[in-house]
């Protein structure tokens, strides 16, 4: 089965932002962290822990169900495929996302969708984020 992104080991995160830079760079050809589909932040300041806002790779994704223009399609193994050309920029997927991790890019008028490619994990120096199969198949 296809793998999906996990952030199980956030206690090891040093907050270097290499994952965000990788997503923005490789997927969106941008230097801007706001273009990254993975967002690292703190729970409440730098004395608290780091959190990762990531696509959780739903098997029956609410974002895809909410998309009426065929731009978001369920992906085998979890998550979605994104077809930008079909996207009209309605933002219904942003509202529908259960964990509220879809950001909207007003410049391109399209959502910043995680395509579960694993690029971010290849630039994590401490193996905090990983690509793994769903354990329970759900």
């Amino acid at each position: 089965m296809a793998k999906i992104l996990h952030a199980k080991y956030m206690a090891k995160c040093i907050g270097c932002y290499s994952c965000m830079l990788a997503c923005a760079r490789v997927i969106r050809h941008s230097f801007s962290l706001s273009k990254s589909a993975i967002q690292i932040r703190t729970a409440g300041g730098l004395q608290s822990r780091f959190l990762a806002d990531i696509c959780r790779g739903c098997l029956d994704p609410a974002c895809a169900r909410a998309c009426h223009c065929g731009a978001l399609l369920p992906r085998s193994g979890g998550g979605v495929k994104f077809i930008p050309d079909k996207c009209m920029g309605c933002q219904d997927c942003v509202d529908a996302c259960v964990v509220k991790t879809i950001r909207f890019d007003h410049e391109s008028n399209k959502p910043v969708i995680c395509i579960q490619c694993g690029t971010c994990t290849r630039f994590c120096p401490h193996q905090v984020i990983t690509m793994e199969e769903r354990e329970d198949g759900r």
């Binding site: 040093i14 290499s18 830079l21 941008s30 801007s32 706001s34 300041g45 730098l46 004395q47 630039f123």
Partner: protein, 581 residues
């Protein structure tokens, strides 16, 4: 070189509450960082006015490689130092360089003085001047907590602020950057306070397209791989800079008890290995650094009977363990954490605070200042009196404390004991006693820092070379570091960013430059600094070198004043200044 780049400077006038974006194409050849900041500062500084005069500028700058290349994490601040009255230059990491990049400004200039306490909220919209009267008087951490809730940009923003020490004009007050880093040493915090400026929050969401993806991506990957596989990862991520404590101690290079000794019998207990084993809880990184050298330790303290405990996460480094540890004879980690906590909350520079306390202790023991004036009896290895002295420096009850708030050099000028007030260029020394190059490097360096020219390293690596070669190495290193500081690369990554790598990285983002041009840039900045320093009062023949350096054996043996003076003359000769001795 770099013709079409335009440096966007945000110019802020606190007096008028006005702002302006200034586009400076002519600054492009300076690349960024210290080059841009030094040039702007040399244009704006008021040499005939007091360092704390409202007209004195504060300049912040990042560089074109900030955050988008591994370990390029620093922002430079240039200002007239309230501590020395001379050249002020300080670097800090965490999120500020990233936040400036996302806000779209490569430099920020702050001038004037607000009518009442303010903080600045800076984004791509420009600046909002916000009332900080409710924040005035608060500690560094409380200020941070409140601003976190008040301001937008969570995750990508930076929050820099002063504590009570800056507000009260303590000349070695620092500016805290995102809890765990600082603009330290030369008193930027006092300058913030003098401008009624409590804090600055920077954020933005600016889009920046990559022009040449294939080229940039390849260079990025090469540098990233080197950053995470070479030994800087082991050294700086592993034990961190605290690894130096035991190493220096074994070699007689660790300033101890106000440099009465150069080795410490309790070094083992306060060394990097012990800190890691006993209190290290996590490591952190500045934005864009896959190494992560920031070591956070757990400080647990009983504050009341009945098992009432508080705990705090504090950042430790070699310099803190030296200044608030060995230099004050502190025999446990817990004692060092207590002092770190105090300087962090008050917003004092840790090195200066520790080195000043060393002088206070010895001056009191020798009877040139009294226990009565101090209100407590300072003693090596005792934290309570030191904590009280730090509080009183910020809230001075008498003339002695007003003098202590000016730093060790000024205090020793007033009361005596200059021979053991451990300053160079009116700046308290860093944690090394390695030999002549270390002393000379800090004495002549633009900001009197061991990081100007790495004299401590020259002492060790060029141990058997001639004084001429050592002096030449210091000059060469200071000029090259000017180049690295234009790019705002963390100096821990200096081995990765050799000249070829720098050229390739710049080229991949459309800035074409040759090795010769870079060398010239380093030299030009060296000259700008020297010219400006001179205007601000720096003079080689005013340098004071405390006798203690020549009494306590160093890592390279006992030092001789005559030989040191000869090296100082050589230095002036090599940079083309006629010796005035």
């Amino acid at each position: 070189m770099a013709g079409k780049r335009i440096i966007r400077v945000l110019d802020i006038d606190l007096t008028a509450e006005k702002m302006e974006t200034i586009r400076r194409e002519d600054l492009a050849p300076y690349i960024g960082g210290i080059g841009v900041a030094a040039k702007l500062f040399s244009e704006l500084v008021q040499p005939d006015k007091d360092p704390m005069d409202p007209e004195q500028p504060i300049i912040f700058a990042n560089g074109p490689m900030s955050t988008i290349f591994p370990v390029v994490t620093k922002t430079v601040a240039v200002f007239r130092s309230p501590l020395t009255g001379e050249w002020g230059e300080s670097y800090a990491g965490m999120r500020l360089a990233l936040a400036m990049r996302m806000s779209g400004f490569q430099a920020i200039v702050i001038r004037g003085k607000a009518a009442r306490p303010v903080y600045l909220s800076i984004g791509n919209h420009g600046v909002r001047f916000k009332d900080a009267s409710a924040l005035w008087g608060l500690t560094v951490s409380e200020t941070g907590s409140i601003l976190r809730d008040l301001e937008p940009g969570r995750g990508h923003r930076s929050c820099i602020r002063i504590g009570p020490a800056g507000e009260k004009g303590v000349r070695f007050a620092n500016v805290n950057v995102d809890t765990y880093r600082h603009f330290g040493r030369l008193g930027l915090g006092a300058l913030f306070g003098s401008k009624n400026l409590k804090a600055m929050v920077v954020y933005g969401e600016r889009e920046e397209k990559i022009e040449n993806f294939a080229k940039y991506n390849q260079v990025y990957k090469e540098i990233y791989t080197r950053a995470v596989t070479t030994d800087i990862m082991d050294k700086y991520h592993g034990l961190g800079t605290a690894i130096n404590v035991n190493g220096l101690n074994h070699l007689n290079g660790l300033p101890t008890r106000n440099l009465q000794q150069s080795s410490f019998e309790h070094a083992e207990v306060i060394g990097g290995e012990s800190f890691a084993e006993q209190s290290l809880v996590r490591k952190m990184a500045c934005a864009g650094c896959p190494v992560g050298c920031i070591h956070i330790g757990l400080h647990r303290r009983e504050f009341g009977p009945g098992y009432d405990y508080e705990s705090k996460y504090l950042s430790y480094d070699h310099e803190l363990i030296f200044a608030l540890g060995s230099f004050l004879g502190m025999s446990t980690q817990d004692k060092i954490y207590q002092l770190i906590d105090a300087v962090e909350e008050l917003g004092l520079d840790a090195i200066t605070a520790g080195v000043l306390l060393g002088w206070v202790t010895e001056a009191c023991q020798r009877g040139i200042i009294s226990e009565e004036q101090l209100g407590v009896k300072p003693e090596f290895d005792k934290t309570e009196p030191y904590l009280e002295i730090l509080r009183r420096i910020v809230h001075p009850p008498n003339e002695l404390y007003q003098m202590l708030a000016l730093g060790a050099y000024a205090a020793a000028q007033r009361y005596g004991g200059q021979e053991y007030a451990m300053t160079l260029g009116k700046t308290e020394i860093a944690g090394y006693h390695t030999g002549y190059a270390n002393i000379l490097g800090q004495a002549v360096g633009a900001r009197h820092s061991h990081l100007d020219n790495a004299g401590y390293s020259v002492d060790q690596k060029l141990k058997n070379k001639s004084p001429e070669e050592k002096v030449a190495a210091l000059i060469k290193e200071e000029k090259w570091r000017n180049v690295l500081n234009c790019l705002t690369i963390c100096l821990f990554a200096r081995e990765i960013y050799q000249v070829d790598t720098v050229i390739a990285a710049l080229d991949s983002i459309g800035i074409s430059v040759t090795a010769e041009e870079l060398e010239k840039l380093g030299h030009d900045i060296f000259e700008i600094k020297n010219t400006t320093r001179k205007q601000l009062g720096f003079a080689f023949n005013n340098l004071h070198t405390p006798e203690r350096f020549f009494e306590t054996a160093s890592l390279t043996g006992k030092l001789d004043r005559q030989q040191f003076e000869e090296m100082l003359d050589l230095y002036q000769k090599q940079i083309g200044v006629h010796s005035q001795r």
